[in-house]
Amino acid sequence: MNSFTYVRASDLDAAVREGARADTYYLGAGTNLLDLMKGGVERPARLVDVTRLPLAAIEELPGGGLRIGAMVSNADAASHPLVTSRYPLLAQALLAGASPQLRNMATTGGNLLQRTRCSYFYDTGFSACNKRKPGSGCAALEGHNRMHAILGASDKCIAVHPSDMAVALAALDAAVRVRGPKGERAIPMREFHRLPGDAPQRDTTLQHGELITAVDLPSPQFTKAHYLKVRDRASYAFALVSVAAALDMDGERIKTARVALGGVAHKPWRATRSEELLIGKTLEPEALKPAAIAAVEGAKGYRDNKFKIELAQRAIVRALRTAGGAA
């Protein structure tokens, strides 16, 4: 790990002032950042520890929503009564991620900013990685790409975003509150992470110096939800494909649906066309199939990950049926 300066922020103003400096990163729990620094992937000159800022509360918002402070740990968010009772989809997604030790450490803000686990990004022994070194190429395109993207990728990068939490937040139309040198703003989850395009080095639309202060959830609309994570082992593994499914039912038929996919793209993949097709449908597998097909429209598989296109469709049907209590 490179040598660096460590500063502990005393308050939000001081944190943002320090964080705006060059070669400076905010440090949450550090579960991903320190790992990347050990491998030489990240080499910041200064770290601003924001874990002691007063951002660790979960509080109700006027209008029925919920605000989760950026420093709330993944474990605390997953077990909070207001989360488990009103947003079970989020609680399930949080518990599907990482290990208990990591969930005790990892913060809500940090989870959103974790970087891809693409092994070519992680291993500096490979020279080609546009995300690590813009313009150097993408070793995954012709390499081992079992874990990689099938949707929204570019010829510059086929990495996927690894978060489970973010997939549930995308399905629930959450917003990310940030504070930076130019003030505060709220970024809808769907616009927070970006597709790789020609600039895969940028994972999000955050500007340098902006600090995540909270995630806001709108008032709960969905009584039925399920987070399905398909992975290579039963626990503590990243998703091959995951599905966040939420339903509001009118008797036997779907009134409103939300579907977001993880493990398939550079960002949590909201399947909006599928959501439209689900309106009025029953939970019979055949009735759900057109929506599953629509979710992978335009999907492209690579050498090792073509199976994900079929897997994603089956996972969507199963997640919706489980959410609705039909499976």
Binding site: M1, N2, S3, F4, T5, Y6, R8, L27, A29, G30, T31, L34, D35, M37, K38, L47, D49, T51, A75, S79, A98, S99, P100, Q101, L102, N104, M105, A234, S235, Y236
Partner: protein, 195 residues
Amino acid sequence: MQGAAAAAAYGSAPYATSQTPLPDAATAGARGEHVQQATLTVNGRPYVLAIEPRVTLLDALREYIGLTGTKKGCDRGQCGACTVLVNGRRINSCLTLALAHEGDEVVTVEGLSSFGKGAGKPHPVQAAFVEQDAFQCGYCTPGQICSAVGLLAEARAQGFELTEDVIRERMSGNICRCGAYPNIVAAVKKAGDAG
């Protein structure tokens, strides 16, 4: 990770094995080092350390305080051998900076017995691991035991039942390459049932 030049322990560290003289401020600056002083509370005792910010909690415990019960396995947060309790919660000590834990209560496997039923006796989880033969080589065991202590506290606080499936899921952050999982699960169950 970095060698002895990165840090030095002094003062109350009773087990310190290598005490490197502190570089003076001018030398440290010239060499690009950023030694900072911090007090860590480990197993109820304060340890005054002068360390570079890049020293992890795991390295501070093992290399500068001399508490080698906590093990370094992967050093990347994947195996759980480095699990310790911070403010009563289990974490991976390899993926956190020592400086970030000033003011926290750190408990390692060496400190568990003084928190058990009767100081000096093995903690109930330690006793259950012995009774159930929940290890072979023993390298992952301190992490398994600290993780299990954390799990039992979570189960009490959140009120979930420790079935075999729940234990396996909630202990998935601790890898055992000897494959002692059946006996580890039995030990955790026994300790949990004894409550």
